[in-house]
């Protein structure tokens, strides 16, 4: 089974984001960038499938600037086999990402595409589902557990109120949630080995996909701040405050 794993380079999840004073966006200059945390879980799951003898090859693809190559290298160091960088400095919206990925799927013919459920920058939570629609493949979103079952894939999904199990006919799309696994740290020998792995470079134009945005950012602002209230001395004082505020 061949597995395709798309990864996105985003602002590191530990960095406190700052809105630019001119309200055009978030300041990304000199900020630490990393692989989207949900994508790390996707890569880890693919590597585990390979270690279990279920997956035969793992191809990682990223759409972004030259530096996205580092994100691909991280995935290669975790155990993916080769990479594809679709190089562009433009902001690519989920719909265009899904269209590019559909082209990659056409070339690579994977049996399974594993994606993070969302990227922690734009929080869209769209790409996997859009890719599934464009390919007319079934989808198992917010995966908590995945298991190959003959020619099908059983996916246990995190849904509001609990878990739901669905059975997908392969080829299929899976998007991963937090509890699926705990991603490994790449070992030094594997980081060295990853440097020799192949990364092919492509462009959106070469795939014939129009990536011009459909959305225009009017402005990006800071959220309304919440000021600290008061410290209370003890439980009795807290109860009194809550009663006055009508909260209890």
């Amino acid at each position: 089974m061949k597995v395709l794993v798309p990864v996105k380079r985003v602002i590191d999840y530990n960095v406190k984001v700052r809105v630019k004073p001119d309200q055009t966006g978030v300041d990304l200059a000199n900020v630490k960038m990393s692989m989207n945390p949900f994508d790390e879980i996707s890569v880890e799951e693919a590597v585990r499938l390979k270690e279990a003898g279920v997956a035969t090859e793992i191809v990682v693809v990223s759409i972004g600037p030259q530096q996205a190559q580092e994100t691909i290298r991280t995935a290669l160091a975790m155990g993916a086999d080769r990479g594809i960088l679709i190089k562009t400095d433009a902001m690519v919206e989920p719909l265009a990402v899904a269209k590019l990925l559909a082209k990659v799927v056409g070339e690579e013919s994977p049996d399974l595409v594993i994606l993070g459920k969302q990227a922690i920058d734009d929080d869209s939570n769209q790409t996997g589902q859009m890719l599934a629609a464009l390919l007319d493949w079934p989808q198992g979103t917010f995966a908590y557990k995945i298991e190959k079952d003959g020619g099908a894939l059983k996916v246990v999904r995190e849904v509001d109120g609990g878990l739901q199990t669905v059975k997908l006919t392969l080829p299929a799309i899976v998007t991963v949630d937090l509890r699926l696994n705990e991603p490994r740290y790449a070992s030094l020998p594997n980081i060295m080995k990853a440097k020799k792995k192949e990364i092919a470079e492509k462009s959106p134009e070469a795939y014939g996909v129009d990536i011009s945005p459909r959305l225009t950012v009017v402005k990006v602002t800071e959220p309304a701040t919440r000021s600290a209230g008061v410290k209370v001395e003890d439980v009795a004082a807290l109860v009194a405050k809550l009663k006055t505020a009508g909260a209890v």
Binding site: V17, Q129, T169, L238, L242, A247
Partner: protein, 309 residues
Amino acid sequence: MAVLVIAEHDNANLSDATAKVVTAAAKFGSDVDVLVAGEGAGAVAAAAAQIAGVRKVVHADGASLKKQSAEAMEALVVPMMAGYDAVFIAATTTGKNIAPRIAAKLDVMQLSEIVEVIDPSTFVRPIYAGNAIMTVKSSDAKKVITVRGTAFPAAAGGGAASVETAAAPAGPFKSEFVSDEMVKSDRPELTAAKRIVSGGRALGSSDKFKEVIIPLADKLGAAVGASRAAVDAGYAPNDYQVGQTGKIVAPELYVAVGISGAIQHLAGMKDSKIIVAINKDEEAPIFQVADYGLVADLFVAVPELTKSL
């Protein structure tokens, strides 16, 4: 402008989220129809018809719609969109699963988790887990939108819309429902709760979590939440998680017990009306957003609070 709202339900009860989405949809256009897709969901359709401001309810019923799978919903909704300028759906796991599939088929860039409708092409949505707020304009002819429920009040009841039926799409689909494993609870659902008591890593164990948090939640009639740290440590199930990677909540009262207040947790609860923090570390960031902070040992203070309410 005509807008289709996809109802959230479990075939028996209409979720409160739907009336909130109707409020958002009414800001987009005056003709709001509600689609109830399910199996044996007649009561849900009747309930949807009572939401004020709804023009009509479209009720599609059949086995293929029992679980509102994304594959079946795509087959049902995409052809219907010829008659609508937009489709609105709650940003729940169901809505998030379905909407992008419809958007891709319509060749439209979806707007996720909007919190405000400025005009029929301009919307406000949080990005970076709510650490930045983006106003965005869509150039697409049709809009596909998921709505953050906490940002809109529920539309009133008392309506009497007509109900018309539509055919359910014929299967089979390449995705098949196997089973559900729902957490059974008499408590209010986190995203709909008026009061929430959340526990953090300071609870120290799953037993302590139950022993300290649950009685207070019971006393307040509150839903129970947890920080990601508490979930990762196994003290509480993932379904309890409040924050960037869990649920976004905005209750009247949020009590944070033993939660330090990592950015990722604050992102999920800072729109709560009143925030109470109980933590023994007086430097904990949670106190910067709390209306009432109590620096105390939670194992003493929380049982005392439970008793005094």
